[in-house]
Symmetry: C2
Subunit: 153 residues, 2 copies
DNA sequence: CACCTATGTTAGCCTTGTCTAACTTTTAGG
DNA sequence: CCTAAAAGTTAGACAAGGCTAACATAGGTG
């Protein structure tokens, strides 16, 4: 018997273990967020301007240039970007693949929020945070729901 | 005229400044995540077992006890919990208020995901990450959409 | 009531991601 | 082609949030 005032889990308690796994998932997502945000932005900049330079990345991320230098070198170690000192940044095949997945996810989340009637600024802002925590499962549900809403259902 | 191969922002570019603000918002959300997760869980444990003890918090968060000790002392500094050494943890009025807001948000996000046809485990998991990045605006849209779906619209 | 085990804390380390200050390289203009 | 400004890097600091190892306390039980 439990020592304290502990009771059998009731209906609202999905169990400590499941909950712990959920939090672990969130912590893991946080670890890949930096990489995802960078490659997504790099892909965007290459599309927009032909190349991604640290100064632009810093401006759009709202961080200072040294932060970008340090993080880019981490991405290089991770095999996501290729780059030589003082030159523009490019994505490796692995980086391109990740960027494409992130951009797809981002597009789906934004489109879904817009279909809910949320204004564009809010949709973009919230999507930036939400996208890293959406499972493939949920993403597909978003896609289905978006078209349902678009059909004025 | 821009120096490089830079072009006038096209339709898909919402501007560097807006984008930077979005990322700043996400970074700010990350700073309050720890506090929100803890107070939410503490409230849950108090409801479930009458008190919140570090060992249970650690188990449910999936972290080790020393991590809980350190973070609880941060929350105490922030005025969200009250507690004496070696005793159970309780929420201050400020902590209770925050916990209530978090639990409401959590409930809304979960209910919304469920209404989309997502299974319970996935809904709980994704909600854990998503809830910290949902603006009040979006939260209200979720509420509206949930009832729309429940009406089998 | 003394002690063993659970629980809790302290100390110290690590990684991530941010910053400022100072230095280096590139590059555009005269 | 030389030089100043813009861009990039390095060095070093710091806070957050994890961890392990070792120590401290509280409380139920023999």
């Amino acid at each position: 018997m439990p020592t304290h005032g502990r009771v059998t889990p009731d209906a609202t308690d999905r169990g400590a273990k499941a909950q712990a796994e959920g939090f672990a998932t969130v912590r893991q997502a946080h670890e890949s967020e930096m990489a995802e945000d960078y490659v997504e932005l790099i892909a965007e900049l290459i599309e927009l301007q032909g190349e991604a330079r640290p100064v632009d990345i810093a401006e759009r991320l709202g961080v200072k240039p040294p932060t970008v230098t340090k993080n880019i070198s981490r991405l290089k170690d991770a095999g996501l970007v290729s780059r030589e000192r003082y030159r523009a940044i490019f994505l490796t095949p692995a980086g391109q693949k990740l960027a494409e997945a992130c951009r797809r996810r981002h597009r789906i989340v934004v489109a879904f929020l817009l279909s809910l009637g949320i204004d564009e600024d809010t949709a973009e802002r919230d999507a930036e945070g939400i996208e890293h925590h959406v499972s493939e499962n949920t993403l597909e549900a978003f896609e289905r729901a978006t078209s349902r809403f678009e059909k004025k259902c």
